[in-house]
């Protein structure tokens, strides 16, 4: 299966270069497009995982996240403590939580088709595991899911998660621990 490392590039790496960022903050359209191109997979992946069971909302919300990011970009301080990727993913996480807390879906959809690959047997097991993870993640509360998505897929450390969600580091640890417990069957059972 294709290695999709880009959507989990750790914050602080794979950042937009300073010149492009400066041009983007000044409203240069090419630079804005470059910014979106750079971070779109990470944002799309985060939104998809946070909105598990609501695939029809993913694209719209991902677009809204970037609109917020681009509109708010002049207020982003490149010399501040947060990397651009952390800031963008924080915006995305909060937007997802706003949606999830505002309205719960009546039904949840778990897609049953994933890209075909050249290793049918191995990939079938891989795909099945992916579906089990997705189904188990859908059962988590949005707060626990946010913690585990940021930690597992975007390599946020505890401090960054705490800052993104506006909670204490201790709360991050306890939510992560409870999420692991809730996912125990998937994470520790038979592959």
């Amino acid at each position: 299966m294709e290695d999709r490392a880009e959507d989990r590039v750790p914050p602080g790496r794979g950042e937009l270069d300073d010149l492009t960022l400066a041009r983007a903050r000044a409203g240069d359209e090419q630079a804005l497009t470059a910014l979106v191109d750079r971070y779109q997979r990470r944002v799309y992946a985060l939104v998809t995982r946070m909105l598990v069971g609501r695939p029809q909302q993913v694209e719209d919300l991902a677009q809204e996240v970037f609109v917020k990011v681009l509109v708010g970009l002049p207020r982003f301080d490149p010399r501040g403590p947060a990397k651009l990727s952390s800031w963008i993913l924080t915006v995305a996480t909060r937007a997802c939580l706003d949606v999830l807390k505002a309205k719960r879906p009546q039904t949840q959809e778990v897609p049953d088709s994933l890209p075909a690959t050249s290793d049918p047997e191995g990939e079938t097991a891989h795909r099945q595991m992916g579906r089990r993870v997705e189904a188990a993640m859908a059962e988590l509360s949005e707060d626990m899911r946010a913690v585990i998505v940021l930690r597992a897929y975007h390599d946020f450390d505890y401090d960054e998660i705490a800052a993104a969600l506006g909670i204490e580091v201790g709360t991050v640890k306890s939510r992560l621990g409870r999420a692991r417990l809730a996912l125990k069957e998937v994470l520790e059972g038979e592959p």
Binding site: R4, D7, R8, P10, G12, R13, E29, L32, T33, V36, D37, Q40, R41, Y44, A45, L46, T48, R49, R54, Q56, Q57, E59, D60, L61, A62, Q63, F66, V67, L70, V71, P81, V99, L114, P115, H126, R127, M129, G130, V133, E134, M137, I148, R151, A152, Y153, D155, D157, Y158, D159, E160, K173, S174, L176, G177, R180, L183, V186, L187, E188, P191
Partner: protein, 301 residues
């Protein structure tokens, strides 16, 4: 915060857990995603075409709020003193010259208010409150919701500025007075007081109700402003001077909107279009700059 300093407490994910979690793959963004986003952000930052005046600054809103307060206080004082004087005058007239003058006043008020009321109900929906709707300086296209304090304040004072207040007030003042006086159900002074209270109450109540309804409508329109920058598909052709209809999907919910366009060429049904502004509840559209890409709309209606 360095990524080489990841916490390694017992509560953290193990490599095996990470490996399993990573089997859940996320899809790629659709083609043209970044172009759509940049277009939408650009439209969001541009002023809406229907906006003819700049948004009011906080200081200006505060100045206007103070002016409205002063005007409301003056009008309130006039209304209270006028009402009290009117009641006293009614009582004096009733005692000095019999009741025929009072009846004339009740009937005149009923006739005047009733005609205006019928006219506003039959032919003038919404017009009777234009004075209230515009007294706060809002033009219906901007600043709604941006000044909640101002809106709450206006709710208290605007009924007295409303033509509906006076129409309903006069009508029910006249009606009550005429009934009580005509059937001899109360004495002249009691009739005048009851009629005045009824008129004030009904006028204030009616003005409040219509004002609340108007605010809800404006809120809906303001919320619809959130469509700006979205893309959708045209259901009915639209051309300059010819309205059409489009469908836009927001958070998975399809919404149909009336459309107008200022483009030279007519836009046929099925065209992917971009909402560049709202004129009331009508979306102002252009051909989507990313129309070669699939939109969030996707399917035919």
């Amino acid at each position: 915060m360095s990524n080489t300093e990841k916490p390694d407490e017992a509560g953290d994910l193990t490599p095996e857990e990470r490996r399993r979690l990573e089997t859940w793959k996320a899809p790629d963004p659709p083609p043209g995603f970044s172009a759509q986003v940049v277009t939408r952000a650009r439209v969001h930052q541009a002023p809406a075409p229907s906006r003819t005046t700049a948004p009011l600054s906080r200081a200006e809103r505060e100045r206007r709020r103070r002016r409205r307060s002063a005007a409301a206080a003056v009008l309130g004082g006039v209304a209270v003193s006028g009402g009290g004087g009117f009641v006293a005058w009614q009582a004096a007239v009733a005692q000095a010259a019999g009741t025929s003058h009072a009846m004339t006043i009740y009937l005149a008020a009923l006739a005047f208010g009733g005609v205006l009321l019928i006219a506003s109900l039959v032919g003038g929906h919404g017009h009777a409150d234009h004075d209230a709707g515009h007294a706060d300086g809002h033009d219906g296209d901007h600043d709604h919701g941006a000044d909640a304090d101002s809106a709450a304040h206006a709710a208290l004072v605007l009924p007295f500025l409303s033509l509906r207040f006076w129409i309903f007030g006069l009508t029910f003042f006249g009606l009550t007075g005429a009934i009580l006086h005509g059937f001899g159900l109360a004495g002249p002074l009691a009739t005048a007081i009851i009629a005045s209270v009824m008129g004030l109450g009904m006028g204030y109540g009616a003005a409040q109700v219509f004002q609340t309804l108007a605010r809800q409508t404006v809120g809906q329109i303001a919320a619809d402003g959130g469509h700006v920058g979205r893309e959708g598909k045209l259901l009915l052709p639209t051309a300059r001077g010819q309205r059409g209809k489009m469908r836009v999907v927001v958070n998975g919910v399809a919404t149909d909107l009336l459309t107008e366009t200022d483009e030279e060429k007519p836009l046929p049904a099925g065209t992917a279009v971009l909402i560049v502004g709202m004129r009331g509840t009508v979306a102002v559209i252009e051909r989507s700059p990313t129309s070669n890409h699939p939109t969030e709309q996707g399917d035919e209606p």
